[in-house]
């Protein structure tokens, strides 16, 4: 077997694995919907609404996974991983589409009402713009469009960073009050964005990971403070102070710190192995 065939085969396996990973949440969502009661994991009343939320969560998670591929390559030097990025990206767009479809189903296919809600509710407008962006990136993700757009393709697909910020904002805005979960994801996103400010050559270094991880934690804290201060009537300072209370379960900023620590340790181990 020639080296090229071997590479092609390995790439195909890698892509297949990524595809399976992307399908797992959808399969689990379907299983819960159909057999959840029997398996002891009931989806409960308002199944469509619940599934819609799950689809939205997976859209954001897969978007972050997509954005994490480049840093992962820089840390590990495993260049082949890049072939999975397109799969994660397209899966993100598909989960986003599912999120919207389930919303329409939950509104009993009342498209006039869906349209007016998308316009009148700011958090839905933000989400709709993000979805529109994902759709454009999804459609133009093919080799054909890559060729056709040439250099402009890269500029167009940089829109993913704006889309990620909008998706994160949409998550914040639909929360009743407690934004712990959105803060955690926003902290991760901030880290992924800040990390990209470094030249690729250096960015895989452990100290850069640690530095940008710390920046992500600080960003999470700042976002948490600003959200509660601006969007709610709560005492934002008091809430952020609870990040340092060891008696509580880790608050979102602390969760980002733990994630950063894990990645730094992982990066250090990889470096250690590669230097041998």
């Amino acid at each position: 077997m020639s080296a090229t065939t071997r590479t092609a085969l390995a790439n195909r396996r890698l892509k297949r694995a990524a595809t399976v990973l992307c399908l797992l949440p959808a399969v689990w969502m379907a299983v819960r919907w159909i057999w959840g009661d029997r398996l002891g994991v009931p989806i409960g009343p308002r199944a469509v609404h619940r599934e819609m939320h799950l689809a939205g969560m997976w859209t954001l998670r897969l978007l972050l996974v997509t954005l994490a591929i480049t840093p992962l390559r820089a840390i590990t030097g495993w260049n082949r991983i890049t072939v999975t990025r397109r799969i994660f990206g397209v899966a993100t767009a598909l989960y986003g589409g599912l999120h919207l479809v389930l919303y329409v189903v939950d509104r009993n296919f009342d498209l006039a009402r869906v349209g007016s809600e998308l316009i009148h509710r700011r958090y839905l407008t933000v989400g709709a713009i993000a979805l529109l962006g994902l759709a454009v990136l999804g459609i133009t993700s093919t080799d054909g469009w890559l060729r056709r757009l040439g250099r402009r393709w890269v500029s167009l697909h940089r829109a993913v960073f704006v889309i990620a910020v909008l998706a994160s904002l949409h998550f914040f805005m639909q929360k009743k009050f407690d934004v712990s979960e959105p803060v955690f994801y926003a902290g991760l996103l901030a880290w992924l964005l800040i990390w990209r400010l470094w030249p690729r050559r250096k960015a895989g270094e452990v100290r850069i990971l640690a530095l940008t991880g710390l920046a992500g934690v600080l960003a999470a804290g700042a976002i948490e403070y600003l959200w509660y201060a601006i969007a709610t009537h709560a005492d934002a300072g008091r809430i952020v102070a609870t990040e340092f209370n060891p008696a509580l379960a880790p608050r979102p900023g602390a969760q980002v710190a733990l994630a950063a620590l894990a990645v730094v340790v992982f990066g250090a181990l990889v470096r250690l192995r590669r230097s041998r």
Partner: protein, 308 residues
């Protein structure tokens, strides 16, 4: 030409209560008599049929598995966690501006009160709804029992705050849960205190051992697991009001034409059947409660205040 721009809260002509129904309001007089009878300590006849649910009863499994009870977590599936709630012993205190304050066990209280079964619609601010047969007694009967002082204008309800509640450790919320109504609302026959459901005891996830029901208001007004009812002369600040006054106000009367800032309130999803049905003003109880909000300070109140 007369051009009349309908205000946001006005309902379309075809959705108004038919005149024949309104005329039956004559029965209000009778209900007034019942209230008077209660004040005199007379037993009130059961009048469960007075508030026709107009919908099928929601399966109990849905009512006991889909709950907002933030003391036990922010998701809907808190039923298991809620079983940790310690309901015995339990005391409910009625205090503040009353002549005869009370502290007693909810079971004792129910024995003193004219217990009846009422099937009521419950409309959550999140646009879902259920119809539940509750057992309990009108709040008005309790109000009569403790004799409010003339200065008393509001009631503040306080829910339990126990170490058994995982949500209490969340540093975000200003526990305990608090709600409030005006004395006029409290003495409306529709305001209800429930100690049972579906012919059995009140489930913990649904607010055992005693909860409030204000079926013409969004569900968060109907505080669960009450430990204290205080009569005051000032409008009490409520739990959700302190967190998001624009979204969860003091009045929070159901109105399909006044949207929540983040979603429409025009329709609701019924738990169980999963049908989506149009929402009615005052959750369909306008016939009995719309009069509470006529005239005086209400004349100047915007629909965003009265219905949010």
């Amino acid at each position: 030409m007369l051009i009349r721009i309908p205000r946001a809260w006005e309902i379309a002509e075809h959705r108004a209560t038919p005149e024949a129904v309104v005329r039956r309001r004559g029965t209000l007089g009778r209900r007034g008599l019942i209230g008077g009878g209660l004040a005199l300590g007379l037993a009130a006849p059961a009048h469960a049929r007075d508030y026709p649910p107009g919908r099928g009863v929601t399966p109990k499994s849905a009512v006991t598995s889909y709950n907002n009870f933030y003391e036990f977590g922010e998701d809907k599936d808190i039923a298991d966690a809620a079983q940790a709630l310690k309901t015995t012993p339990w005391t409910l205190s009625i205090d503040g501006l009353v002549d005869h304050p009370l502290t007693l066990d909810p079971d004792q209280l129910a024995k003193m009160m004219p217990v009846e079964q009422r099937t009521l619609r419950h409309r959550c601010v999140e646009a879902w709804a259920m119809t539940v047969p509750w057992t309990g007694f009108p709040l008005a009967a309790l109000v009569a029992k403790v004799s409010p002082k003339p200065q008393a204008r509001y009631l503040r309800f306080t829910s339990a705050e126990q170490e058994s509640m995982p949500g209490i450790s969340s540093p975000l919320y200003p526990w305990p849960y608090r709600e409030g109504v005006t004395l006029a609302e409290a003495t409306n026959d529709l305001a209800f205190l429930a100690t049972g459901m579906y012919g059995g005891p009140l489930m913990k996830q649904d607010g055992a051992p005693i909860r409030l029901l204000l079926p013409w208001k969004y569900g968060f007004k109907s505080a669960k697991s009450l430990t204290r009812i205080t009569f005051t002369d000032r409008q009490p600040e409520t739990f959700w009001q302190s967190l998001g006054p624009n979204e969860y106000g003091f009045w929070a009367n159901v109105n399909p034409d006044v949207p929540h800032p983040r979603w429409t309130q025009s329709s609701e999803r019924l738990l169980g059947s999963d049908e989506r049905v149009p929402t009615q003003i005052f959750n369909g109880y306008g016939e009995w409660v719309a009069g509470l909000y006529k005239g005086g300070a209400f004349a100047q109140m915007s629909p965003q205040v009265l219905f949010r």
